[in-house]
Symmetry: C2
Subunit: 313 residues, 2 copies
């Protein structure tokens, strides 16, 4: 049995895994992302983390290392044009990793790595046309079309958090008004509740610290403000997914990211808006379901990228 | 020099061309689309049209026939799942053409054929990430990503006329409310003017037969109602193009179809809305321009499909 090393590089922490050719994560490790020292410090932390992961293990047969990176990654040139959460711009990551690691390195954008993981071992197995939507602090995504990841002219394909869905809404971090992530992210959910509380709507959430988990618990208990906030998230998400389904014709839409675990609360409104706006031909043909691998999707997909690169030569 | 036969099959007429390997249309022919007799009558009309096209010519070296079809075409199985303007459903077009024609036949959806044509010989030469938007009676399109045409799970990728852009707007033929084609098609342009005239807004168009050409002439002359109608088309088109640019990251957006010839009148509003909603990274990097081949794009692209199929085997 061969193995790949997998790295899921985030702004806060770095996850490491030893992944079998069957897609099982057989060893894990995690450490904090260095805040100082720039790309060399992060590369050193990854080298140390991989050593720690393998410490005490009999040396496995390794196909290589796959690394998922939260930013604009070119898998061909192995450069990172931009990774805002890491403070990286125009980093020759492939060269830095080649100096620090004794194995071949494959790089992939984190959302695309997650989609590769879901397709290999998760909820998208055997499906060639998939839209992954990640619902977290922001909204991101990735697109597989005809079995191939879309990259776009500059590696930015899949940034579906910035579909305009509510031009009369609030301003997004990107500068535009009414982007999907201003309405259907975890951040937006909290803001919807804050706005209702400011309007004096009665809620068990009044005066309490607000979080997506607290809002989900209140919704579970029947709180009208919490439920209305989830309805609003679902309505705008459903509208955006209908437009994307009409334009891209996926067979499957996967919902990932932390907020997807609260899907039960926004699904009815999401489905109603989706059904109202999707082409009739797609209504029964497009499946919308939760991603299956949770936080492991990125590691599994990074390993897949490493195995694929090894096969490609 | 080798040649391909090209057919652009529409609901009203069928265009024929003999196209050189350099992409020049060296012979042309056109006839009406048979209204009765179903697929066999259309196939017979195409066979006759091709004979008429070549009548009296010294037999050229032919790579094959490419046929653009307004509907859901599977180029692999050569079946047409649906072509509403022809009244076709589940037609084994490849088999019918194989019986009627002595040359190998390649089939392609008409919008995708137009995009292939623009990339080969028109405004998208050398560009791998292109969004084509056709603005006519309705709004359609096609997407090239990484040099590859997107098809989607059921061949419906590119139906961007049904992006929801105005959920409080009017009902579309598809059943949904506020699709792009209810706001930014030639049909919508006329409807915007009709609504203004009903509201009693003063205009040189009052009491005259309305057409996109008449509205463009009035806009040229400074008519406020005509200009406002084009502004509205541009605003919703720009909003939709921004969302698509954010999701797909094309390097180039091409505007085709009859209404694109009036681009001067809707471009300012389109560009303002596009700039306001597109990610800053795309603002200077995405070019929006008119398709170059006009009505010939479909013929040139159908020929390209025929040459490609001949090369592929």
């Amino acid at each position: 049995m061969r193995y790949a090393l997998a790295v899921d590089l985030g702004g806060t922490s770095i996850k490491f895994g030893l992944v079998s050719e069957a897609g099982d994560i057989v060893l894990r490790h995690e450490r904090s992302t260095p805040k100082a020292g720039g790309p060399p410090a992060v590369v050193a932390a990854i080298a140390e983390g991989l050593q720690a992961l393998l410490a005490g293990e009999a040396a496995p047969a390794l196909a290589g290392v796959g690394i998922g990176i939260p930013g604009l990654v070119d898998p061909e040139t192995k450069t990172v044009a931009l990774a805002p959460n890491l403070g990286w711009a125009d980093v020759p990551a492939g060269a830095l990793f080649a100096e620090a690691l004794p194995w071949p390195v494959a790089l992939e954008n984190d959302a695309r790595a997650a989609l590769l993981g879901e397709r290999w071992r998760g909820a998208a197995r055997g499906v060639d046309d998939v839209l992954l939507v990640t619902l977290g602090t922001g909204v991101g995504g990735a697109v597989l079309s005809g079995g191939r990841l879309l990259r776009g002219a500059r590696g930015l394909a899949g940034e579906i958090g910035h579909l305009p869905v509510h031009p009369a809404g609030v301003r997004c971090g990107c500068g535009a008004v009414g982007c999907l992530e201003t309405e259907a992210s975890a951040t937006a959910l909290v803001r919807h509740v804050e706005a209702a509380l400011r309007r004096g709507e009665p809620s068990a959430l009044a005066g309490r610290p607000l979080s997506p988990v607290a809002i989900a618990q209140a919704a579970e208990a029947g709180d009208a403000v919490a439920r209305a906030a989830f309805d609003r998230v679902g309505r705008f998400l459903g509208l955006a997914l209908a437009g994307l389904a009409n334009a891209l014709n996926p067979a499957l839409i996967l919902l990932g990211g932390g907020l997807a675990s609260a899907e039960a609360f926004f699904r009815p409104a999401m489905w109603a808006a989706f059904s109202a706006h999707v082409l009739p031909a797609h209504r029964a043909a497009v499946d919308i379901r939760r991603a299956a691998l949770g936080n492991d999707a990125g590691l599994v997909g990074a390993a897949y990228a490493a195995f694929s690169a090894a096969v490609a030569g």
